[in-house]
């Protein structure tokens, strides 16, 4: 495969491939920015356009769009507390407080750099793993999935900032909501209250739009004023500091990129999980966890690197087995088949150049979107100096229409409104929105794999498989570490006295 490296580079650089890359990237960025739209919609839109096109050019266009969506989604997450895609939800937790402090430039700089380098990391992993990816994918089964979900849920204990009690209640609420709908293990339909709409459970995208966008717009409309709580100076500062911060926290970046890659490789886990696990890891491994949620730059670097590294990982099962790990990958897989390619082990033998073009574009698309983000940050950040009373109605419309557009269902819009009001009330009374979101995302995965493990192996199934046991021990260590550290500090303090 590696002897095709130079010819693939030549394909990528020869005209009109750079133009297609630019067009794909701009489209992906736009779809990422708009709540409710994302990678699947961008790819679905490009699918008919690419029909009959040269295979490599079609891949340049589509992968360029795919690469730009995650960073595109992070821009509104940072500027207006509204994640453009579900994968950017964790970026709001520290990205938006930074904006409120007048440090939007720093957040965007860090996000762009972490996204770009994360994608580069993912592409390296993809290149290395393609020959051995099959064995890695097969190592993960239900107990490992459950332990991954448990690891993600353990983050709630650390991120419940004001009250651990309320944090746990919020997590229970999220887990309870995740039990709604059709249970794939038992076949029962739970808590639908006679509505067909709830058969699929609480849909994540409308719920996220409600919790973040609608809730935030309600708050802006009531609070009035402007998002940025500092006066407008006319110039954007801090972008360079944001870029530097990624290199200053390079260890964290590498660990979170690795987490993102692993999550991407495992089919069906999803980008939102990568985002939260990376954020959770940053909080749990920090010496100052109390700073997270108040505008901590590491809270931006972690989810952004994990989120973008995930794409490289997600292509491993898609290209090796032809198994799409997400909706976005499913659409992409369909596009590859339409283009006459056959994803699977044979593709690596028959089309090594195409695979390498795909990997190069993944990196190039991210570099391009990051540059656009960094240079366009000044214009984007002006949004935060607009009066809230003019910004909030636009956010309402973007959010609710985005929610409506996903499935064309009015119930999705109603759900977004309900979650928006819930978000507002939770914030007012000190309940953790973050805990609800984490539990809602991971709850379904946890309960499904819990039952599947019990059915196949019984309770011992969680502890006899080495990776599952390893993940369990890591989770336990992450939970106990702050308590042990606190105990040691207190003992040291008492000895000093």
């Amino acid at each position: 495969m590696f002897e095709s490296a130079l010819p693939a580079l030549q394909i990528m650089l020869s005209w009109p491939a750079p133009l297609y890359l630019l067009l794909g990237t701009l489209l992906g960025m736009l779809f990422g920015i708009l709540p409710g739209l994302g990678g699947p919609q961008a790819l679905a839109l490009l699918l008919p356009i690419t029909y009959g096109m040269d295979v490599n050019l079609a891949i340049v266009l589509m992968v360029g769009a795919m690469a730009a969506v995650p960073f595109g989604g992070s821009i509104p997450a940072i500027l207006i507390n509204t994640p453009g895609t579900g994968q950017s939800a964790a970026t709001t937790f520290d990205g938006f407080p930074l904006t409120q402090k007048g440090k939007a430039g720093m957040a965007i700089g860090a996000s762009a750099t972490a996204s770009c380098l994360g994608a580069f990391f993912g592409a390296i992993v993809l290149t290395v793993l393609l020959p051995i990816g099959r064995q890695i994918v097969l190592l993960f089964s239900f107990p490992e999935y459950f332990m991954l979900a448990l690891m993600g849920l353990s983050v709630i204990v650390v991120v419940s900032k004001d009250s651990l009690w309320k944090g746990l209640i919020s997590a229970l609420l999220g887990l309870a909501l995740s039990t709604f709908g059709y249970d794939p293990v038992t076949g029962s339909v739970r808590y639908t209250f006679g509505s067909d709409y709830l058969w699929d459970g609480i849909r994540l995208m409308p719920a996220f739009i409600g919790l973040f966008a609608v809730g935030e717009a309600l708050e802006l409309m009531i609070r009035r004023g402007k998002i940025a709580q500092v006066p407008y100076t006319g110039k954007l500062s801090g972008v360079t500091d944001g870029i530097k911060s990624v290199f200053q926290n390079f260890g964290l970046f590498l660990r979170c990129s690795f987490i993102g890659c692993i999550i991407g490789i495992i089919p069906g886990v999803g980008g939102a999980v990568a985002n939260f696990l990376a954020y959770g890891h940053a909080v749990q491994s920090s010496k100052n966890p109390e700073l997270f949620g108040t505008g901590e730059i590491r809270g931006v670097i972690a989810p952004e690197s994990g989120n973008n590294a995930k794409d490289g990982g997600a292509l491993v099962p898609t290209l090796i087995f032809g198994i799409p790990g997400s909706i976005e990958m499913a659409v992409f897989l369909g596009a590859l088949i339409v283009l006459g390619l056959e994803p699977g082990p044979r593709m690596m033998m028959e089309n090594p150049e195409t695979i390498l073009v795909l990997i190069y574009i993944l990196v190039a698309g991210n570099i391009l979107v990051s540059l656009i983000g960094i240079f366009g940050a000044g214009y984007l950040c002006r949004l935060t100096f607009f009066p809230n009373t003019l910004l909030a109605p636009v956010i309402f419309m973007l959010a609710l229409m985005g929610s409506y557009l996903t499935h064309g269902l009015i119930y999705d819009v109603v759900l977004s409104l309900v979650f928006g009001v819930l978000s507002l009330a939770m914030k007012r009374f000190g309940f953790s929105k973050l805990a609800v979101v984490i539990a809602l995302v991971l709850g379904r995965l946890a309960q499904k794999t819990f039952h599947q493990t019990l059915l196949l192996w019984g309770v011992k199934g969680f502890f006899v498989r080495p990776i599952s046991l390893g993940l369990f021990l890591v989770t336990l260590a992450m939970l106990l570490f702050p308590f042990i550290r606190d105990f040691l500090k207190r003992r040291q303090a008492s000895r000093t006295i």
Binding site: V158, L390, P393, M401, G408
Partner: protein, 182 residues
């Protein structure tokens, strides 16, 4: 004097307690309904419902009965981990503040706040109804014009300009680019 009376009240159904009550009812309903499902399907929601109900009940007691707050310290205290300062000392000020009942001087502001929220909910409900009845461009345009003029009290010109821009963007994106049949 008024402050003193308010603090000593044994039962106070403030907005916080009311929210607790709504969530408590949700958990209780969940628990009761879970009994309709087969044992395997019910196990997780039932467990979540029971634990959630107990925790929420204690939270409700702490919020609605100020004298109980000192006895339910574990409910109202700051987070075990995040209540720490970087040097490892507990943020005692924050914890003490959490033990205090809500200030009565805020009562008027509270009702004003919820009145504003209710108005916004009605606006959004109106938009959803309009969206299901008329073309989305009309619903979006009308919503932006009315809310910007009436709620935000901006000039007609600004409201119409904003609505026009948003409608134009949506038309290009949804109708021309995406060809979405909305």
């Amino acid at each position: 004097m008024t402050d003193q009376n308010q603090i000593e009240k044994p039962f106070l159904l403030n907005d916080s307690a009311l929210f607790d009550l709504i969530i408590l009812i949700f958990f209780l309903l969940m628990t009761v309904i879970a009994f309709d499902y087969n044992p395997r399907a019910r196990s997780i929601p039932l467990g979540l419902g029971i634990v959630g109900s107990i925790m929420m009940f204690l939270q409700f007691l702490a919020d609605a009965m100020p004298p109980l707050r000192s006895k339910l310290r574990f409910v109202v205290q700051s987070g075990i981990l995040s209540g720490e300062k970087p040097d490892g000392q507990k943020d005692t000020q924050k914890q003490e503040a959490a033990l205090e009942p809500p200030h009565p001087a805020k009562t008027e502001k509270v009702s004003q706040y919820w009145w504003q929220v209710l108005r916004m909910i009605l606006w959004l409900t109106g938009f959803i109804v309009a969206l299901s009845l008329v073309n989305y461009l009309i619903a979006v345009g009308a919503f932006i014009v009315l809310i910007t003029k009436i709620e935000a009290q901006e000039a007609w010109k600004k409201a119409l300009l904003l609505a026009g821009c948003v409608d134009a963007c949506f038309f290009v994106l949804f109708d021309i680019i995406l060809n979405a049949q909305l």
